[in-house]
């Protein structure tokens, strides 16, 4: 009985989640939406997505190997998520060299320049996407046909850009709605848009899986949806001819993808529940401001990146309620 015993401090038990299991859980939850995208946009969607993932992995590997000369952690799943989410935020017709450029920026600038996983203040996929949106505005806003709406080979426009243009021209909202399809169509994914953003149905399914696995909490997505609903609902109620309905804002563009997958990114979202709620409301309000009064038809990416910048401030000031803090005398 004289073998050496391991001595360490408590706790001696370990929970079952690891960084890897969380990351691959996110990837797993994205599979249904990914398959739907391939169905909607064809093989292009698959090729763009694989290009983004492979580039992200290679860039991370090269930086870790040649620049940081530290441990290689490319297969922890986080670079795959960045690649997946970046591709989900691109039109499937985008030239592949642009995808590669965006992936290099996403991982190289958005993530590794800050020190790698866990250290980056901004969502790397969105850093990549916004870089591409500003650098390649035409390619980034040319929308290939969704199999459900247009015959192959045509290009269309997203419901949000059609609506924004029409409102600028003074068309009443009721006529616009007739042009861009019903909310049910939008919910299923029957519209033009980025590879992974069109199908609210599958994104919500993925989100529910992440909720079940304890990867995300409900606060950020729900408060983004609520904020957008209240904001757009109020305007729509004041002037239904000029402002789009809340369900239109909720179901089109990148809102569902952004709210469920981009804003909930662990690294770049706040640490406390109250902080998450404030963060989510900020994203909702900024998204609506950009969509309604901004230059771009879509504002989710910018809104999330802007709120990412506020996270350190939110963490500093929105502390959790301490146990035994609010006890009145007696």
């Amino acid at each position: 009985m004289n073998q050496k015993l391991i001595v360490s401090l408590s706790p001696h038990e370990k929970g079952r989640d690891s960084v890897k299991s969380i990351m691959y859980g996110v990837i797993f939850s994205l599979i249904p939406a990914f398959i739907a995208s391939i169905y909607f946009f064809g093989l292009d969607a698959l090729i763009v997505t694989l290009t983004a993932i492979v580039t992200c992995l290679v860039v991370e590997y090269l930086i870790q190997k040649c620049l940081l000369k530290g441990p290689i952690t490319v297969f922890d799943g986080s670079a795959i998520i960045t690649g997946l989410l970046l591709a989900f935020n691109l039109p499937s017709s985008i030239p592949l060299w642009m995808v590669i450029a965006g992936s290099i920026v996403a991982i190289g600038v958005g993530k590794m320049s800050f020190g790698g996983l866990g250290k980056n203040p901004f969502n790397p996929a969105l850093v990549g996407r916004v870089f591409m949106l500003i650098s390649f505005p035409v390619a980034m806003t040319t929308w290939p046909a969704n199999r459900l709406t247009l015959p192959d080979g045509y290009t269309g426009a997203t419901p949000l850009s059609i609506a924004k243009e029409a409102i600028k021209n003074g068309e009443p909202v009721s006529q616009i709605i007739a042009k861009v399809g019903t909310s049910l169509n939008h919910f299923v994914g029957n519209m033009e848009g980025c590879i992974g953003e069109v199908s609210a149905l599958f994104l919500i399914l993925g989100g529910l899986y992440m909720l079940y696995r304890g990867i995300i909490t409900w606060h950020i997505p729900v408060f983004i949806f609520l904020t957008v609903f209240v904001f757009s609902g109020t305007l729509h109620w004041i002037n239904p001819d000029k402002y789009l309905s809340p369900e239109f804002h909720l179901l089109t563009g990148g809102l569902v993808l952004g709210a469920i997958y981009m804003a909930t990114d662990m690294v770049t979202s706040p640490m406390t529940t109250s902080g998450m709620i404030l963060f989510a409301i900020g994203i909702g309000v900024l998204t609506m401001i950009i969509r309604i009064w901004g230059a771009y038809p879509e504002g989710v990416s910018f809104a999330i990146l802007i709120m990412n910048a506020f996270v350190p401030l939110i963490n500093k000031n929105m502390k959790p309620k301490r146990f035994g803090e609010e006890v009145k005398n007696g």
């Binding site: 015993l5 401090l9 146990f323």
Partner: protein, 443 residues
């Protein structure tokens, strides 16, 4: 809806392997090692010498100062020597080493099983007797019970809460005690109520012990002022502040004791020891210890004399398994790993858990991914990730401002962390340092 505490908490795998093993009496060893520092507070002062004959129940070390506890011999025999022996902390401590001869008890101890329900003593007499009997909190904290029962001036106890939660994975000592000594625990509870002069008591039991809940409920009508409260399973519900919150929905203010809000918490094991001390004249010389582990042949609950070397317990359950890399004194969430099997069982030993190699090793520490799980599971509403950074960077003022001293060291943060960060290690470091700073300020 079952009651529980509201903030944080985790669900470690329960692994209550020994739940169906009745308490067995472990053979008395040949030699016992009885440390004088088995409780929180000042070590007891040894009053026997080498060569002295002692019986079971003979006082061998006297409490020194108010927060301290008497220590009695757990065996009969001869004091072989007084020497430093390693205890569960890993340090050498002074201990009385007794060579066992027979099993002769002090004559005033009632060794029968007869249930004595009459309590013809006053509050002062009860507390005095508890103090003489060397009773300490048996849940693991080992705070001297007489001190906890002496209510400071200006405060008033309203409710006695008996802790039958046993939220640590693996441990079943309290569970078995509740099943096998149900009446005794209830009488012990009544004695404690009388000592505290309270008219209400609640016994909190987690819902994973339905048999214990049922057993209590079947006889509770004989004890009208005691309530049985089934609780939803959640760790660390057995922590004092969390248990009070679960049962009476009040929060002990930061830095204060439960009596501030009129509550006193005692463990079921302590209630049983109190029964034995008051009704049977028996000092605290033995306790129930769960000896268990996934690879252990026969996970058991043993009634063990204080001072028995842990190797005897391990021997009884089939020996140390081939794959037994770490041995924990207490539960796996808050217990201490011991470095030797020669360490004796003390008053605070609620369990011995043998952990296999694979689970005993810590994984490589990764970057914090800011998943906020540590914040969401902290039952005290702290930010473990931040407190760890303060510890690493020695930012003591910030650590104090962010309430590092409120940490109850339950380990939920380290347990849940997917990046395997040693959050609690650094929080302990901060607590020790910040504690010193606070004390030096008061001087």
């Amino acid at each position: 809806m079952l009651k529980t505490f509201s903030k944080g908490g985790v669900h470690p795998a329960e692994n209550k392997l020994s739940a169906n093993s009745p308490i067995e009496i472990l053979n008395i060893p040949e030699v016992v090692f009885i440390p004088v520092n088995q409780h929180l507070g000042a070590p007891a002062e040894i009053i026997v010498q080498k060569g002295d004959k002692v019986k079971v129940g003979t006082l061998i070390a006297k409490q020194t100062g108010y927060i301290s506890a008497n220590i009695h011999s757990s065996v009969s025999g001869t004091v072989q020597k007084i020497d430093d022996v390693p205890d569960t902390s890993g340090y050498n401590r002074k201990a009385v080493i007794i060579q066992v001869e027979g099993d002769e008890w002090e004559t005033n101890i009632d060794r029968t099983d007869k249930l004595v329900t009459e309590i013809p003593y006053t509050s002062t007499e009860i507390i005095q007797k508890i103090s003489e009997s060397g009773i300490v909190g048996l849940g693991g904290a080992t705070f001297p019970t007489h001190v906890k029962l002496s209510i400071p001036d200006g405060k008033k106890a309203e409710i006695l809460i008996i802790n039958g939660v046993e939220c640590e994975p693996y441990l079943t000592a309290d569970h078995r005690l509740m099943l096998e000594k149900t009446h005794e625990i209830l009488v012990g509870t009544k004695i404690l109520m009388k000592a505290l002069n309270v008219s209400r008591a609640a016994i909190g039991i987690e819902n994973n012990k339905p048999d214990a809940i049922k057993k209590f409920k079947s006889i509770i009508k004989d004890y009208p002022s005691i309530e049985i409260v089934p609780l939803k399973v959640k760790y660390p519900q057995g922590a004092e502040k969390q248990l009070i919150k679960a049962i009476i929905n009040r929060e002990v203010p930061s830095g204060k004791l439960p009596i501030e809000i009129g509550a006193v918490v005692q463990n079921v094991g302590t209630a049983y020891a109190v029964y034995e001390a008051i009704q049977k004249n028996k000092p605290l010389i033995e306790r129930v210890v769960t000896v268990t582990g996934k690879k252990v042949l026969k996970p058991s609950n043993l009634m063990v004399r204080i001072g028995t070397p842990i190797k005897n317990l391990i021997g009884y359950v089939g020996g140390l398994p081939e794959d037994g890399a770490k041995i924990v004194n207490g539960g796996p969430m808050m217990g201490k790993a011991i470095n030797s099997l020669d360490v004796p069982v003390t008053k605070g030993t609620s369990g011995i858990v043998v952990i296999p190699q694979k689970e005993a090793e810590r994984s490589e520490v990764l970057n914090c991914i800011r998943c906020a799980k540590c914040v969401s599971v902290c039952p005290m509403g702290l930010e473990p990730y931040l407190l760890m950074t303060y510890g690493e960077k020695q930012m003591w003022t910030e650590a104090e401002n962010d309430k590092v001293m409120d940490c109850i060291e339950c380990g939920s943060c380290s347990f849940i962390c997917p990046a395997y960060r040693p959050l609690l290690d650094y929080i302990r470091l901060s607590k020790t340092t910040v504690g010193k700073i606070i004390r030096s300020r008061k001087l």
